[in-house]
């Protein structure tokens, strides 16, 4: 493969490209979906291709092909060069790149058991066992389950001289139970909505033990049908880690993307209220709030050794002691605002997309408020909300609204009645400034989200979000539903 890459870079140089990089990616994937007691989807497959990006007179061009003959690669490089030349007619200012050292490296994501070495029978068996337990619960109307596994072998090469081989093993799984009657429909998920996804092997599936949680998930779905509705009021809210992880994703991860902050994504994904004039000035959250973009977290789905433009993985503070201090950046956006170096956040969905700035693992650092039960014990009156159901935020990332699958009333430090149709909303900086308790490591969870959409054409990406449970004061709750 490296010889083909050298061939592509040589052609780019012959054509007169000022810079070129490429990714050759070989992917193996498997997805199993169950619905009720049957396997409703079974898909496994492979792909192989090359994506090449060239910079010509300050304009980017990108092309890809899955044909790895020398002639097909030559045609793809020429196509990339042609579109870059066309771009150069409309660039102002010309694109520049923040400096980055040259690397010659090999990296394999940490995993214990290759998930592709485990038999399909064993995988299906686990899902159907969990389904059987859920389906036996009276009142359950539909159950689903899934497992997904991906192996990416990625070779990055650049005209600067970097040669980087990375192997990614991603695994994920989850189950859902639905209960419905004529007036209502409720859902419970485990381990979180959309399942859990990690940079890990088969050991993740064994650790999550779907069968063990199946009964509880199904019973909670049925119980929700007769639960009280979340009241509409201003309340103290305690958020479960996976829900808080998505809150971090939407209200910190996306607004800290420098391409958005510079207006480059405004036509679709949106812009950001975190404009460069606010860097190191804005009180984004309370003093106990610390948020990082850490691509070096072992096992987290957004980790890597090098991003898709060959920048080494980093841990960047986005919010330090409540103050907005950093961006997710790329070599070209870093250059635009005078950063010394890219934060290393460029990734592409596959070899058929040019990389764009993506979240790595955007995480809320643990605080000193102890476990979830410690926070609840310390809360006189509030609502504990768990597992995301619905999420929405405005295009500058101020006004957000989330719904959760389930909630519980908190009274005098104790978890009381179950609540359904829980929702909360607010304005991002006000919300994060109302945070007065952040849990410790005890209940910290590194959530993996498999479906973050951004770019045109839209690319989906894996992003990680670490969070402990945390408490927020005076939050508008019960706003999404009637009642």
């Amino acid at each position: 493969m490296q010889k083909l890459g050298e061939h592509a870079l040589n052609i780019a140089a012959q054509l007169g490209a000022d810079y070129a990089d490429l990714r050759i990616i070989e992917q193996e994937r498997q997805t199993i979906v169950t619905k009720g007691q049957v396997v409703s989807e079974l898909d496994s497959g492979t792909s192989l291709g090359i994506g090449i990006r060239v910079l010509v007179k300050g304009g980017w061009g990108f092309a890809s092909t899955q044909q790895l003959s020398r002639s097909a690669i030559e045609a793809a490089v020429k196509r990339a060069f042609t579109v870059a030349k066309a771009s150069a007619c409309c660039v102002n200012p010309a694109i520049g790149l923040a400096p980055e050292p040259v690397y010659d490296a090999t990296w394999v994501s940490p995993h214990l058991v290759d998930p592709f070495s485990v038999s399909l029978e064993e995988k299906i068996g686990i899902l159907l066992e969990a389904a059987k337990i859920m389906n036996a619960v009276k009142g359950v109307t539909l159950t689903t389950g899934f497992m997904s596994f991906i192996r990416d072998e990625k070779l990055f090469m650049s005209s600067s001289g970097s040669r980087i081989k990375q192997t990614f093993i991603r695994s994920g799984c989850g189950i859902e139970a639905y209960a419905a009657n004529a007036d209502d429909q409720q859902r419970r998920s485990y381990p979180k909505s959309n399942g859990q996804h990690e940079l890990a092997g088969w050991e993740l599936i064994l650790r999550l033990d779907l069968k063990k949680e199946a009964q509880r998930v199904a019973e909670e779905a049925v119980a929700l049908l007769s639960a009280d509705i979340c009241p509409r009021t201003a309340a103290t809210v305690v958020l479960e880690p996976s829900q808080l992880g998505l809150q971090v994703h939407e209200s910190m991860g996306h607004p800290a993307e420098l391409d958005r902050a510079l207006g480059q994504e405004i036509n679709f994904a949106g812009a950001s209220f975190l404009t460069p004039d606010k860097l190191n000035k804005l009180q984004y959250g309370a003093g106990i709030v610390n948020l990082v973009a850490d691509a070096t977290t072992p096992g987290a789905i957004g980790s890597f050794a090098f991003d898709d433009e060959g920048v080494q993985a980093q841990n960047v503070h986005l919010v330090k002691d409540g103050t907005f201090t950093g961006y997710l950046s790329s070599r070209d956006t870093a250059s635009l605002i005078g950063l010394e170096r890219s934060g290393g956040m460029m990734r592409a969905e596959s070899c058929h997309f040019a990389p764009i700035i993506r979240m790595t693992n955007i995480s809320l650092l643990p605080g000193d408020a102890g476990s979830l039960e410690d926070i609840i014990a310390d809360t006189e009156d509030g609502i504990y909300m768990a597992t995301n159901y619905s999420w929405s935020i405005d295009q500058l990332r101020y006004n957000f609204q989330f719904s959760t699958e389930i909630g519980w009333e908190i009274k005098n430090g104790k978890r009381k009645r179950m609540l359904k149709n829980c929702s909360y909303g607010g304005i991002t900086p006000q919300f994060w400034n109302s945070c007065d308790a952040i849990g410790g490591r005890q209940d910290y969870m590194l959530s993996g989200e498999p479906n973050c959409g951004k770019g045109q054409p839209m690319q989906t990406m894996w992003t990680g979000h670490g969070a402990p449970p945390a408490r927020f004061r005076n939050v508008n709750v019960g706003i999404a539903h009637k009642g």
Partner: protein, 448 residues
């Protein structure tokens, strides 16, 4: 881009290898070479020209099926993929709902010609010229432009061991523009078969007009208002109800129209049809198994008249498939993909002129389901939200969050405009009208 001759050759390779090994084999090929030029801040930011073809093979054997995918089209790789699918299928339990493959059928309707060769082969320079024109308009008005200009084509072919072969090639032209005047933005978008139909300059002017009108927004109190929804806003809201017209959503008890077939569920002025052959439509005229898509009346004068059916759900409910099935096997069953929402004769201008007080919405954003049965969705207004008073647009307003039942909304439509081919960002392009709706529920406001 895959040619039909090459597609037939690849399919034949797989079917020949499958002979005698299984009771049925289906091959699906999908190919795309859509190129996208992106710009922002009056400058080109990205320019992509990918080419991609994928193959999926589905095998049926001993009452079981499996489907595997690849993008390696070499004969040796295709036969290996097929062998792996055969092995995988035998690990699964018997599928009691499994149907035999479709036989080759005669064409039941004239196939739409949706290929414009000029658009399919449009050069990067031509897209750059369109971008330059948009930037020129922005600069001349002191604005900043962002957006995309895209062109190319897509091809789909399905062949199976019972003699079926269907294929469809379609060109793709898309332009969307956001104009920015300080914090104020305006947006417009179009998606057509022919690049010549896009009118990129017209879209730029429209977005610029919106941005110019969107300055100095006033804050209004959340609450229930009459709204005037431009077609893109209508499309991106209704994108969240279309799946509820699938038969499988009824079987799974997930539809907001559960057990309401034949009953009046929406206002008498609401008519919804799925029709791939409509002159304003685009898309593939057959479903995931190669069955021709039929025109289906989903709502007539507010009555839930019919659903779309894939073959599996149709067999379960003792109906005939309408040709809307997704590729087998799948969990969701079917989907209407070519919606036509019936319009009226009240223009957008007349809706504004006849309003004492209303909110005019250019588009909505980040729409998500909140309550599946009452079909409450949430989302934000974006890129041009205006207060209408005494028959005229009075000012821009700060964007608002809505929590709105789509069922209630479609029971509160008081005026409909002409239906147009419309592009949004939440679902497929469709043919929808502008609407004037009473009692639309805004829950909160934002800062801009």
């Amino acid at each position: 881009m895959l040619t039909e001759a090459k597609a037939r050759q690849i399919i034949d390779t797989a079917l020949t290898h499958a002979q005698g090994k299984c009771s049925g084999c289906e091959v699906t090929l999908e190919s795309s070479d859509i190129a996208t030029s992106r710009f922002a801040n009056n400058s080109m930011t990205q320019n992509q020209a990918p080419e991609r073809t994928s193959i999926a093979v589905r095998v049926l054997k001993n009452g079981r099926q499996a489907r595997l995918t690849s993008d390696d089209l070499a004969p040796k790789s295709i036969t290996r993929l097929l062998d792996e699918a055969l092995a995988a299928s035998q690990i699964l339990a018997k599928d009691p709902g499994l149907l035999p493959l479709l036989s080759g059928h005669k064409k039941t309707a004239a196939q739409p010609n949706r290929l414009d060769r000029k658009t399919a082969s449009l050069s990067a320079e031509a897209r750059a010229d369109a971008v330059a024109e948009i930037i020129k308009i922005a600069s001349s008005r002191g604005l900043s432009a962002a957006g995309v200009v895209a062109s190319g084509s897509e091809y789909t072919a399905i062949g199976n061991s019972k003699g079926l072969f269907v294929s469809h090639r379609q060109s793709h032209a898309q332009c969307s523009v956001t104009m920015r005047a300080g914090d104020a933005t305006g947006w417009s978008k179009a998606h057509h078969i022919r690049f010549a139909d896009l009118d990129c300059a017209g879209l730029a002017e429209r977005a610029a007009d919106k941005a110019a009108a969107n300055v100095n927004p006033v804050e209004i109190k959340p609450g229930r208002y009459t709204v005037i929804l431009e077609p893109s806003a209508v499309l991106d809201l209704l994108a969240y109800i279309f799946a509820d017209f699938g038969a499988t959503s009824q079987i799974d008890k997930l539809s907001c129209f559960q057990d309401k077939l034949g009953k009046k569920v929406l206002g008498s002025n609401i008519n919804i049809v799925d029709d791939v052959h409509h002159p304003f439509q685009a898309g593939i005229p057959f479903d995931g198994e190669g069955l021709p898509r039929q025109s289906v009346s989903l709502v007539k004068n507010g009555v839930f008249t019919d659903m779309v059916y894939g073959r599996r759900a149709a067999a379960k409910l003792k109906r005939k498939s309408t040709g809307h099935g997704l590729a087998e096997p799948n969990s969701s069953g079917e989907m209407p993909m070519n919606l036509i929402v019936g319009g009226g004769d009240v223009s957008l201008e007349e809706m504004i002129a006849s309003s004492k007080k209303a909110i005019l919405l250019t588009r909505v954003w980040y729409v998500r389901n909140v309550d599946p049965l009452s079909k409450i969705v949430t989302g934000m207004t974006r890129d041009g939200t205006f207060l209408v008073e005494d028959g005229a647009v009075k000012s821009a307003v700060k964007n608002l969050r809505f929590n709105q039942s789509l069922i209630e909304m479609l029971n509160s439509v008081v005026a409909l405009g002409p239906s147009l081919r419309t592009a949004g960002e939440e679902g497929f392009p469709a043919v929808v009208p502008p609407m004037k709706v009473e009692n639309f529920n805004f829950a909160s406001t934002t800062t801009f």
